[in-house]
């Protein structure tokens, strides 16, 4: 067990190294001269040279990569071209709204999607099942900002139940905080719910055909206990895996959701950085999110051993 945990933790190091190498190399992969693109159309040759030097493009690739990795290990993600502030400081200022949005979305999505999938599998072929599957297809097709605008229009503008836009820090109390997050979380969660519900249904259909389910029925275990204790527990591994993989959808969607609902988080920071061509900020955000994604999936992998004692690597 301990050996497995150590091996699994060590296995993430090469992945993170490749992520770092790849994110770093984007500057070199991109067609054209990135320094000229970042400097903009009105830039003088001197401006372009200054940006080239600040990105380190005037130094050899490997030297620059070594220095960059060393900086990151010390928590230095570079300096913004636009504000001259350290990127890590800018990220720290904006992380709370994004973290709040993602946690609320995750909790909402899992608590809605898993029961949806379970019921659809239990009532396979009925109207309920068809409705869940129809929702899953729609959820994959309607982009997050479209859901966001429709929700904001109906529930904020027309019905006036919830605030249209903005964010209230958690320190001002749970009520105002959650009020501002409900609509963005539903918008962001739609794709995620569709994905989890679909996998939950598929896995549950498989598990419900197993012999031990028939045995449980035969000895008179109640329907709810069969579904949620016997079946769901054995279907947990694929469901939890897809919850972890789907975090990538949440991260990408958060950037857009924050624009729609004017939430001052990391997504907003990224969008502002795009408009100002502030590449170090974008690079820092991409790197941070990718590392978070790798770590979340590491934790999930380690959790498998708790869900399923049969797993021994």
């Amino acid at each position: 067990m301990f050996a497995y945990v150590v091996r699994r933790v060590l296995a993430t190091i090469p992945v993170m190294a490749v992520v770092a190498l790849f994110v770093f190399s984007l500057l070199y992969i991109a067609p054209g001269d990135p320094a000229a693109v970042i400097a903009g159309d009105q830039a003088t040759p001197a401006d372009i040279e200054r940006i080239r030097a600040s990105l380190g493009l005037d130094r050899p690739y490997l030297v620059r990569f070594g220095a960059w990795v060393w900086d990151i290990m010390r928590g230095d993600l570079g300096t913004s071209i636009f504000t001259n502030l350290p990127v890590s400081t800018m990220i720290a200022q904006r992380i709370e709204p994004t973290l709040s949005l993602m946690v609320v979305t995750l909790l909402l999505a899992v608590s809605v999607a898993v029961p949806m999938g379970v019921v659809a599998a239990w009532r396979q072929g009925t109207v309920i099942d068809r409705a869940v599957m129809g929702f899953a297809v729609l959820g994959f097709s309607v982009p997050v900002f479209v859901v966001g605008y429709v929700l904001a229009y109906v529930f904020a503008l027309e019905l006036d139940w919830l605030p249209v836009q903005g964010y209230t820090p958690f320190s001002r109390g749970f009520g105002p905080w959650i009020e501002n997050l409900i609509l963005p979380a539903i918008a962001l969660g739609t794709v995620y719910i569709a994905l989890i519900a679909r996998i939950t249904r598929a896995t549950m259909l498989e598990v419900l055909q197993q012999d031990y389910i028939r045995t449980a029925k035969a000895k008179g275990v109640g329907q709810r206990a069969i579904l949620f204790l016997h079946a769901l527990k054995n279907a947990a591994v694929p469901i939890v895996t897809v919850i972890g993989i789907g975090i990538a959808l949440l991260i990408g969607g958060a950037v857009v959701t924050e624009s729609v609902f004017a939430i001052p988080g990391l997504g907003r920071l990224t969008v502002d950085a795009i408009l100002r061509r502030d590449y170090p900020v974008i690079q820092g955000v991409v790197l941070l999110f990718s590392f978070v994604y790798v770590l979340v999936n590491l934790v999930i992998d380690l959790l498998y051993t708790l869900f399923d004692p049969r797993i021994r690597y």
Binding site: F140, S141, F145, G252, I274
Partner: protein, 303 residues
């Protein structure tokens, strides 16, 4: 020794009985195929309609999508402006119809390019052991970067153009296709008919061409439709946040980005491109689901 083994009762009787159920004759031909796969029929019809709109956009009662008319700005939808006008007086109906071109171009191009690149990488990875471990580590790393963020980072480094959007989204989609192809190749290599081909001295290129490639086409086609759908969403997202096609091109994401400032008072500017985008993506997804069920009947019951 013992009595002759008697046929089970009913076998003789069955011959004497008329068929209660006439044998099912599946309809043949293309129409029969569409009947049996309604999702392909619906999805395919909608996709073809969108292709029609894209190709014939100039002849569908549209005006110049970039013509400014400041006097006529933000008019509500009416007989003259079917979808209204935007804040610069441009006709939203014409812009949305021309936007179909951008979305379909990006979706189809990314699907084709990512499939070809993924197929090549997947085949190399599935056949060359040394390359496999390196390629798969690189793909693991690339897959750890959320695709939209990867596309955003690439777009921040290049000038906004349709070509660069296609390139950025393609790079973000390649790892998933490569993974899929590699998995299929590895499982096919274990098949007895591949062993037989190897044993009878078939060379590797011929094995790939005759035995591996044809069998990757079905899953690859299904995957390509999903990539097409997700590429259209990604393009709209990129344009919406200002990292996609240049603002002068009327893409659905750009129209929505321009309508964003006014959406509380003039929601129709955002509404119409949103509806078109959703319907197109839904159509491509339906087509993908239908193809998946038709090409791999075992999956049909499960998902």
């Amino acid at each position: 020794m013992s009595a002759a083994i008697l046929p089970p009762p009913g076998v003789n009787a069955a011959a004497a009985m008329p068929d209660i159920l006439p044998p099912v004759k599946p309809k043949k031909g293309f129409i029969g195929f569409l009947r049996r796969n309604p999702t392909i029929a619906i999805g395919g019809f909608l996709v073809l309609s969108m292709v029609f709109v894209a190709v014939f956009a100039p002849f569908l009662f549209t005006k110049d999508p970039t013509a400014l008319a400041p006097v006529m700005r933000t008019r509500e939808p009416s007989a003259q402006w079917w979808f209204g006008t935007d804040m610069l007086g441009r006709d939203v109906y014409s812009r949305v119809l021309y936007g179909t071109r951008v979305s379909l171009t990006v979706g189809f191009s990314v699907a084709i390019l990512a499939s070809l690149a993924g197929l090549t990488i997947g085949l190399i990875s599935g056949f060359i052991r040394v390359a496999d471990s390196i390629i798969m580590r690189v793909m693991d790393g690339m897959m750890s970067i959320p695709p939209i963020l990867l596309a955003i980072a690439l777009m921040a480094l290049t000038r906004g153009s349709v070509g660069n959007v296609i390139l950025a989204i393609t790079i973000a989609e390649i790892p998933r296709v490569s993974r899929l192809v590699r998995g299929v190749v590895l499982s096919l290599r274990e098949q007895p008919y591949v062993d037989a081909a190897v044993a009878s001295g078939t060379r590797t290129p011929m094995i790939i061409l005759r035995h591996i490639l044809p069998n990757t086409l079905a899953p690859l086609t299904v995957q390509a439709t999903y990539i097409c759908a997700s590429a259209m969403i990604t393009e709209a997202i990129l344009s919406f946040i200002g990292a996609g096609t240049p603002p002068i091109i009327p893409s659905w994401g750009n129209i929505m980005a321009e309508g964003r400032a006014l959406w509380q008072v003039k929601p129709y500017i955002v509404f119409f491109p949103a509806v078109f985008l959703s319907i197109t993506v839904l159509a491509v997804n339906l087509l993908g689901d239908g193809l998946r069920d038709a090409l791999d009947p075992r999956m049909a019951k499960r998902l």
